[in-house]
Amino acid sequence: MNTTFSAIGENRTVDANEFTPEIEPQPTWCPGCGDFAVLNALKKAVSEVGRSPEEVLLVTGVGCSSKISSYFECYGFHSLHGRSLPIARAAKLANPDLLVIAAGGDGDGYGIGGNHFMHTARENHDIVYIVFNNEVFGLTKGQASPTSLKGHKSKEQPLGSAKDPIRPLSMGLAAGASYIARTAAVNPSQAKDILVEAIQHEGFAHIDFLTQCPTWNKDAKQYVPYVDVQKSEEYDFDPSNRVQAAQMMYETETSLSEGKILTGRYFIDDRPSYQQEKIARGSMPKDPLAYRYTDEKYSWERSFDYVENRHT
């Protein structure tokens, strides 16, 4: 435990209510919005793993969903549309002792932020990434998002979107995420469990969280009935087997278009996280860099020695 960052590693029992900010206890989401469920599940999951508000950094983008940083008590960072991941992963590199969670909408993460998603997954940063997938742009009033079904109508798509929806789980897999799950707002206990696993997983944990948007996405309804692929008799696959995982994902994504809601853990891999890779190569210090700045004993290197050796 570092004395200048003493919220870290306290290991005390934490109550889920500690994550309700007194200043803004009630989200401004619409009645019936699926985002409420993510918030609740996250409060439970973080308290279950025993991390306290001040050792959590929650980085979000912009969108209805990204406002979760206002409603979850911790160090919050409500950044830019699509840019939560590069901020989050750098914070984790700077201080791996933090629990770093990135979150945002499907537009935020798979649309404008798609490149960061792909590369953060590839690099396997040890962070949790929650995508609130409501298959629509909520905050900007109902336009098609990358996950909207073909035919989705809005003022921008008056004749219906002509695009097939992106396959978020398959993309995560191809890109290199090492934990991939889908859960849904209507399934709070599965959601909480998956979040706990994601937090405990070392590496990039990608959660596609189905969150109905009753205001703009009437098609999506409530994402019911849902099926837990782990619990259902109908499905039998091994999430540590990439080929099986890929097939299960494909089926899950396709069946969503048909109104069949499959959820669960899809892929779990134990390849080393990026941090571990970097530390192994000597290109990242073992102790969190952030602590060095308050370490009075650290003797800081200076350029003089480089100049003398290289330039005279």
Binding site: I23, L93, N115, P285, V307
Partner: protein, 617 residues
């Protein structure tokens, strides 16, 4: 006889002329001379018009000088697919000779590699030689090199020939070769060097005047570029995190940092694009590390939105912006100063950022340290704006200049022990954005600190950072953020030394205003213009662009009757900034602009002054 040497080595990109000239420059410096280098190369890996220049002399050198007086033309051997003869367009192979004749002084020396260049192909060569009194030494460098080693070693042969013709001692060159190479490579090069040296000394009758100047240094010198100075300053400020994406000419500083950081337990990250690069710097800084990023103008365009975020959440970051000729991809390896307005204003909303533009490597070091001090002291993004010229030019600085203490402190943060008594919202959230903060600087807490939690948001926000559209809060927060700019001007004005450098006799009737990397060239021009003894012109080189040094510039402008504003762009961006800041004196200002990709030579400034300022008298 020229009292100084301006030596140019020309060949194709990939011919190794950069490392050869860098080493030769160091040898010259060690011989007791001052050194100033310049590079010219195209945006491709192999071939094209490429040269490196070394100016050397016993007195202080502030620019590349005018033209040059010694050409070593290696010929282009890598033009294109070298196995196919037709791979050379027309005269590609001889271009290192032909393209360089233009600037060679009357009475200058030409050494060319007869192994590659057939002089018959050069139109009117002998007429030109006669007309300009050039002294030509044709040498088959390639064969000499091949005999003892490999084709590429004709660089070394060229150095041997140069040294012989200049009657320069080989010892410093050999010492550097020994340090840089080993085993048979070293042996081969050494032999080539010595063989060429004696061959040239023995074979040719020297008809030229130029000889190696003699000089002496009082103290050990270091040969550094602006990119080095910047990277070393970052290191001394305790910067231990860099994120970036390669882009000429910023890559130079990024590369130096990437080389050093693993050594000192830091982290360097090459990422998917520049949006991510800037965002990573923000994330690392947020979590408590001194972080930086940077790019050239194109990548900086992509950083526009994250830069605005850093302004809004008051996240300290230092961004380098290394200018090259634009717009768009422009001329990637050529210098220019046309990103000034881009850097000052890109990103939506009223900007709250600091922009510093050093004029030479020493200033680059000082201003980079200042950039970190301001960023991490005032919780504000700071941009260090420089250019290909400053980034790549090497010159010697006393080693003692670098004998400084590191300073990793971050005065803009609050220690955990102070947090509990600091102002909080009743809900327990820390007032990270406190209305009443002194100088507008509300101290930031860092994730993991107890009692420090707050909400950082790119939306307008309350004292604890929650989103708010309340108009009163809005105005308070805007005013506080913006007030830092004035506070920083006050802070800069209170320093012992200004970052903006006056030069030349105070009583001069005319002035030259410039900014950034033109500083030395302008100063050299000022010296020449005043060489008659009567004070004619003085200069002010501006290095603080925002906050603008209004007072210094105003008194300078008021003290003269006409002013030449020297800058490397097509629209007079700095002149525009001066007018915008002063709101007056526009009729005193005359622009001297250059935007063909090459930096000013002092004579161009002298001529520009004579035409634009004196010509109208």
């Amino acid at each position: 006889m020229d009292s100084e040497l301006i030596w140019r080595i020309a060949g194709g990109s990939g011919d190794g002329i950069v490392s050869t000239s860098d080493n030769f420059g160091k040898a010259i410096m060690r011989s007791g001379l001052n050194v100033f280098t310049h590079r010219h190369y195209p945006s491709r890996i192999r071939g094209g018009h490429t040269y490196a220049e070394i100016r050397a002399g016993p007195t202080e050198l502030k620019s590349r000088g005018d033209g040059y007086n010694f050409l070593l033309a290696l010929g282009d051997s890598f033009g294109r697919n070298q196995k196919i003869d037709s791979a050379y367009y027309g005269n590609e192979r001889i271009k290192p000779l032909t393209e360089n004749l233009y600037d060679l002084h009357n009475g200058g020396v030409i050494v060319y590699d007869t192994g590659i260049i057939d002089i018959e192909d050069v139109p009117d060569f002998s007429e030109q030689v006669a007309e300009n009194n050039w002294h030509v030494y044709p040498i088959d460098l390639r064969s000499i090199a091949k005999e003892e080693g490999r084709d590429i070693m004709r660089n070394t042969a060229g150095i041997g020939a140069t040294a012989a013709l200049l009657e320069m001692e080989l010892a410093p060159i050999e010492a550097l070769m020994k340090a840089a190479m080993k085993g048979p490579i070293f042996e081969q090069n050494l032999t080539i060097l010595r063989n060429t040296y004696s061959m040239v000394a023995d074979t040719f009758e020297f008809t030229h005047d130029i000889r190696f100047p003699s000089g002496e240094h009082n103290e050990t010198q270091a040969l550094v570029s602006g990119s080095h100075a910047i990277a070393y300053a970052a290191l001394d400020e305790g910067c231990r995190f860099i994120a970036g994406y390669p882009m000429t000419p910023w890559t130079a500083a990024f590369t130096i940092m990437c080389g050093i950081l693993p050594d000192v337990g830091g982290i360097s990250e090459q990422v998917e694009d520049e949006i991510a690069a800037a965002a990573l710097a923000i994330g690392a800084s947020h979590a408590g590390v001194k972080a930086m990023s940077g790019s050239a103008g194109g990548g900086f365009s992509l950083m526009s939105e994250p830069l605005g975020l850093a302004e809004m959440v008051e996240q300290p970051i230092v961004l380098l912006e290394a200018q090259r000729a634009g717009p768009a991809t422009g001329m990637p390896t050529k210098t220019e100063q046309a990103d000034l307005e881009h850097v000052l204003y890109t990103s939506q909303g009223d900007s709250t950022r600091i922009v510093l533009a050093p004029g030479d490597p020493e200033e680059a070091y000082e201003q980079t340290r200042m950039a970190f001090q301001i960023a991490y002291g005032y919780n504000i993004p700071v941009i260090l704006l420089y250019d290909q010229k400053l980034g790549a030019e090497l010159r010697n600085i006393p080693l003692s200049f670098f004998d400084r203490d590191p300073d990793p402190s971050m005065p803009g943060t609050i220690p955990e022990s102070d947090l509990i008594d600091a102002p909080h919202h009743p809900s327990g959230k820390y007032h990270r954005y406190n209305y009443d903060a002194k100088d507008g600087v509300s101290l930031r807490s860092i994730p993991g600190q107890k009692h420090g939690r707050f909400h950082a948001s790119g939306n307008e926000h309350t004292q604890e950072g929650h989103i708010s559209e309340d108009p009163i809060n809005r105005v308070l927060q805007m005013d506080r953020r913006r007030s830092k700019i004035a506070a920083i001007r006050t802070y800069l004005d209170a320093q012992n030394v200004s970052n903006n450098t006056p030069y030349g006799p105070l009583s001069s009737p005319y002035g030259i205003l410039t900014w950034g990397s033109n500083k030395g060239t302008v100063e050299e021009a000022v010296d020449r213009l005043n060489s008659s003894g009567t004070p004619l012109v003085k200069a002010l080189s501006v290095s603080d662009l925002c906050p603008f040094p209004t007072q210094e510039v105003t008194s300078f402008v008021e003290s003269v009757s006409k002013i030449l504003v020297v800058e490397m762009n097509a629209t007079g961006q700095f002149q525009g900034l001066v007018k915008q800041q002063l709101g007056a004196y526009g009729d005193k200002l005359y622009g001297l602009l250059k935007y063909d990709g090459n930096p000013f030579e002092p004579a161009e400034i002298v001529a520009g002054f004579e035409e634009k300022i004196m010509g109208e008298n």
